[in-house]
């Protein structure tokens, strides 16, 4: 069954007979067969072998095949039984459903990870919250607006005047915490407007909310105390402004007569 290279191989003849050649090669083989008697004879021999096999295969097995009527009826009965049973989740959920729900689950898990596990994976821009209980004097010396006692005692200004976001950002930048989480700090007036403090960046500082002892709540209490003392005439305004701007914690201790914040 060996032939010269100029002829088609048995393998190629079989592939051609079975329609398994790529279209271009199939055309070349067809052209060759049209011209080459030798290869046509070889192809005929292969077809003959196939015929021989099919003859034996079908001749031996076909007589053994029973009528399909019985198996067909049995299958129909079994299918009807299965179709009448409400499909379980495996049958109801198609592959697309499973993929869709799995995708949604992964998305939710990732979001949860991002929200709750941020401290585990800090971003590069993220700053650690540095507790700031004291303003930096060079950055925040404290600036008064030039109002007198009568003006501040005539009406009660809002306790926590909102500092514009742009000004808050500048304060953060000055203190070198531009990427800090805004909620971790409260940009606070060193001399509160209730005591004549000015809307000036030199009067603003980032007080960290994480300070457990000397925090914004304690300073608010000092501001209220000083405002009352000034308006009651027990303390002059300039002294109050000086005391709170030079060392607000010392001022708290002084005016509340305590070393620790009162509960």
């Amino acid at each position: 069954m060996s032939y010269k290279d100029s002829h088609l191989s048995d393998q190629e003849l079989l592939l051609a007979a079975d329609g398994e050649l790529p279209p271009v090669r199939a055309e070349e083989v067809a052209s060759h067969l049209a011209a080459c008697w030798t290869c046509r004879v070889r192809k005929g021999e292969i077809e003959e072998s196939i015929r021989d096999f099919v003859h034996v295969y079908r001749g031996d097995l076909d007589p053994l095949l029973p009528s399909p009527a019985g198996p067909r009826a049995l299958l129909k009965a079994q299918l009807a039984e299965r179709a009448s049973v409400a499909p379980g989740w495996r049958e109801r959920w198609t592959q697309q459903d499973v993929l869709r729900y799995a995708g949604a689950f992964v998305l939710v898990a990732l979001l949860a990870l991002l929200v709750y596990a941020r401290p585990i994976f800090p971003s590069r821009q993220r700053f650690h919250v540095v507790p700031v209980s004291f303003p930096e004097p060079s950055l925040t010396p404290g600036v008064a607006a030039g109002v007198n006692r009568d003006q501040i005692c005539r009406s009660m200004p809002p306790k926590n005047r909102i500092v514009p976001a742009s000004l808050q950002r500048k304060v953060f930048e000055e203190y070198g915490i531009a990427g800090a989480e805004p909620r971790a700090y409260e940009v606070d007036y060193l001399i509160t407007p209730a005591l004549g403090g000015a809307d000036d960046i030199r009067n603003l500082w980032p007080q960290s909310n994480s300070s457990a002892v000397w925090n914004a709540r304690v300073k608010d209490a000092l501001e209220d105390r000083l405002h009352d003392l000034v308006c009651e005439g027990q303390l002059d305004l300039a002294t109050a402004q000086q005391d709170i701007s030079s060392d607000w914690i010392a001022a708290y201790k002084k005016y509340f007569h305590t070393d620790r914040p009162l509960p």
Partner: protein, 192 residues
């Protein structure tokens, strides 16, 4: 090439229903596929040595599996190869189980049952009836390696090389080589 009907694309076909409970479209589709393929599947199973009764059970199992497959909305690509693949896997499982049973059941001193899938040695009366050529080809077929025999059977059932490769987990080249090798043996047998 083989003298066989081509299986049409597996579309839903209408099947007349006179039964009391009207079958669902999916049931009808599976029954249509059964009509198209059950003889091919059973013949393939018999060619691998599976006894008729077991072969019929496997065919039922294959189409029930097909029903579940389609019910779950899984891929309908090339169901013909899928059906043969399931049948093939079940026949291998059947073969392994039977082999284990035989080994357990063989009494001391008793000859073990022949392992060959195709062992249809004709009895003396058949031998007289069948012509010499047929017997010679049968012996060639029996002598083929199991995988080559399966390749031939699947090709005879109309599967393409790609489908045969999928069912038997072989490359296209291996399928082509196997078929070429087997047919060459048939050719040599007839040259004698």
């Amino acid at each position: 090439m083989f003298d066989d009907k081509t299986i049409p694309d597996l579309a839903v076909a209408s099947v007349s229903s006179t039964e009391e409970a009207k079958p669902t479209p999916l049931e009808e589709e599976v029954v249509v596929l059964f009509d198209q393929m059950q003889a091919r599947l059973l013949r393939y199973l018999l060619s691998t040595g599976v006894p008729l009764h077991d072969g019929e059970e496997i065919v039922q199992e294959v189409f029930l599996a097909l029903f579940r497959h389609l019910q779950r909305g899984k891929s309908r690509r090339n169901l013909r190869a899928w059906v043969f693949q399931v049948a093939h896997n079940l026949s291998v499982k059947h073969y392994v189980a039977k082999r284990r049973d035989r080994q357990n059941l063989v009494e001391p001193g008793e000859a073990p049952v022949e392992d060959s899938f195709v062992d249809r040695t004709p009895n003396p009366e058949d031998q007289l009836v069948r012509n010499q050529s047929h017997a010679r080809l049968q012996s060639v077929l029996r002598a083929l390696p199991e995988q080559d025999r399966r390749c031939l059977s699947l090709r005879a059932e109309g599967l393409t090389y790609r489908e045969i490769g999928q069912v038997l987990d072989m490359s296209l080249g291996a399928v082509a080589l196997s078929l070429g090798r087997s047919l060459a043996r048939f050719a040599r047998a007839e040259e004698r």
